[in-house]
Amino acid sequence: MSGMHRSPYQGLAVEFAEHRQYVAGDPVRHIDWKVFGRSDKLYLKRFQQETNLDIHIMVDASGSMRFGTLGSKDGWGGTETGRQSNWTKFDHATAAAAAMAFLGLAQRDRVSTEMFGPTLIAATRCSNSQGHWRAIVQCLATHAVDGRADLPRAVDELLSRGTHRSLVVIVSDFLMPKQQVKDALARLRHRGHDVILVRVLDRAELRFDLDENAPFEGLEGEATLEVDTRSIRQAYLDVLAEDERELERLARGFGFDMIRLDTHESVGPALAALLARRETFLRGGGR
């Protein structure tokens, strides 16, 4: 069955993709003899197979995702967590995940969602059937948000389900040790998956423009910190910028894509920009 996406598996496929210079060991049956006849050089023909895509959307449901400073308004929807008070990062993450799932299902890609915290909390089957989006939304909206995230473990559990190469979208604030992120991405990369990192942060976390000195309590059981917000603002922003750069470096290092979402801004423009960028990138020659 032919799908709308180019398959990530390149080789002998329906659609020509590119030429590559022959190196010793390559199968000779893929040599483009016409080119050899014209240029006396050996090139291999590579093809892109158009296929349906499996998309796994992993949503971080750890305690840190419970943070939010944007007041909720009627009609916004959101999860049980955010509906009680503010629009949280988890709300924003589920909104982004639901949107991406909707887009995938709309083009008949098979989509699954996985909620992870200390472990993989919940998951839907990977399907493109009608009504699956409702199941996805229900899964996103009904689970508790708590505990510390363990991304490598969640990824291990995902991979243990025998998933073949697919697109893995990780929606999280990535407020975790970067080594964990690196380990998780390395395993996904090893199994040949494509990964999109979607980092969701609250505007207060991005700007740190609090004006009162107060003790800060962690949402994942961290010790309380006495903070003079004004005095450490610049240092915090520096640390945040370094953290962003580190995460981006990791993603680029594995050849993955990454976007950042601000909970105070709409999900749509950011996702549109992501998809447009990927489209442009893929049409420009693939990888």
């Binding site: 007041g71 629009w87 207060a204 423009d209 107060a214 949402l219 005095s231 603002r233 945040l240």
Partner: protein, 741 residues
Amino acid sequence: MSLLTFSSPGLAIAAGMAVAVPVAIHLLMRRRRKPVEWAAMELLREALRRVERKRRVERWLLLAVRCLLVICAGLAIAAPFIGSTIATTRVVRTLVVIIDDSAAANERLGTGTAFDRSIAMARSEIEQLLPGDRVAVVLTSRANISSREAASLDHRGAVQRLTGLAATELASDLSAALTAAAAILTHEESAGTQREILVCSAFRVGFVGGLTPLQKLGNDDAPVTIRATTEPAPDGTNLRITSIELDRVAGTGPGAPVVLRVMVARDRGDGVLHTTVRVTGPTLTSPVERPVELSAGEREHAVTVMLSERASDPALALRRAVVASISADAQPVDDSRASILAPTDRLRVVVVDRRTFETSGAIDRLPAGEWVSRALAPGDAAVIDVTMTDPAALDSRTLAATDTIVIAQPQLLNTQQWGLLTSFVTRGGVVVVLPAAGELVQAWTSQFTSTFSLPWKLALEARDFPTPVALAAEQPNSSYLATLGAELPQLSPAVEVFRALAVDVSMDPTATQLALQDGSPFLLSWRPLNARGMVVLFTSAIDLSWTTLPLKPLMVPLWQELIAEGRRHASAAQVVVVGAQPDIDRAGVVELRPIAPDGGALPGARSIAVGAGGRATGPIERGGMFEMLDSSGRVQGVMAAVVDDRAASVAPVEHEQLNKWLSASGEVNWIGGGNNGVQRNGTQPMSPRQTSGLAPPLFVIAVLLAALEAFLARRFSYATGIRPATTRQANGQQVVSEGAR
């Protein structure tokens, strides 16, 4: 020694305590904060780690600046100074406040007294002293027992001491007070200070006394500034009772009515004055009152009052005393006076003469002592006990049981016996001295004059008159022989004198009680200083070779009157002046207990113990009557204490006269005006609000610290350019105020 002290120690303490305010605010603000839930704790922790050291330094720096600011501001207001600094900015003062607490200070002025006014002004002056200044208080009634220690830095203690003081009924001694003040000012602790004496008084006659010249205080190297409170205007008139004398006994036997003569004198006021004399006493049947009117210009007025005593009772006989009082006026202290009525027991006279072995009984051979004995006890019914004693037997025991001593052989007394006679006169006894009849050279005269400090000059040899000289018909106006006054013109000329001692009384003209026709004295009297008794001298021996007096009718009444005077002195011996420490001549008395005029108890009055030697252990400090009690509590007699008339006088003194008198001690600046005066003239004391040496720089430092604090607080708040975007919800979470979604 450079000790840091403060003009306002309370403010300095407050400043020290105020340092805790910034710290307390800091702690309270921490406690009141509500926690904020936060997700990016690792980022926050890392940020904190990076700025923690810097923030700690900033916090401590800001706190230190704030604390220093509070300290400097507080200290500047508290006006600190260091000993060495003070010398360059102001002179430390040593102030000795002399308070007039004498009898004159009881004068009523408006709603208070002159003493209250003095205390108020002294207190005001002390409260204006700056820290480091010294102060001492000297009381004029007790100046000779004032402490000569250094003036104190404890101003509050001095004020408290003033609060506990009260005016006394004692005499004032400004000279002694100035001496005490000078001793205090010359104490090494006061070296180098500005030395001042403040005299707080109404400066009435009672305070200034006889304007006795005062000693000069200070010198060019260490001058003493004297300030004195201006005398207030007199407020009201004043009368006083100057004496109470027994005029006569109207009848015979115990219980006979007694007539007293009460003298009322004008102390202040020139117009017609009315008052009521009231006499009461423990033995009177009822108090007696007599209205008195002093006409304009009349200085003194005598009032006779007849008193009826209760039936004879041995116990009452020992309490025969009266208190006369007049209506209240400007000076309450001299409005009453106590006196002792003559004792009813027999008088005791000792005649000191050498016994003779002459048995003929010839009149021309009778010794002087015998003549005197016969004159004193002419019959069996005599009320005078006469005892003959040999000069060698005269001792203190003899004197203790005697009212009057007649010395007929003065040349036989030794120095110790003369000393005993001095004590005897001091206690109120009467000593009558006769020249030795058988001696031409009276060698005892020098001892006599020196013993009693007589102002007379006695010749060593008796003078023989070529022709007998009679007593003058016109005798001096003698209060001593007042009762003989009407008969003297007839009795005196009959007495002839052949030989007499020449006595020069030019220094004391009033001493002559009887004079010869040539004007030379025949009988002299003298009351030694501070003595209650008297010394009487006959210039002629009671011997027929000297005079015909023993044979003349004047002999008996003259000697009887002498003894009557002794009787009066015997009672006067029980009258002491307030301030004296009396010698009690009655054996067994151990306590002097004040009693009310009617003889009742006087609640709250302090008794005075009497020592084994008969001397009271303390001075009499109030006028009135005192019961003399023995160890079993029985009354042995009664003693009257009277306030010194002159000490209590509230008659005003001319200011020029005062200024001249007080200026003898140094330059005088008069301060105050009116009864509560605060207006000043003359040299002003240093302003108490004068800024101390360290206050200005401390203020400057405080201002600089305030500016630094403002700068650092803004700098360390990191508030520049940050616009708060969030507000806090009731649940503690942050909410964006703008709808950004």
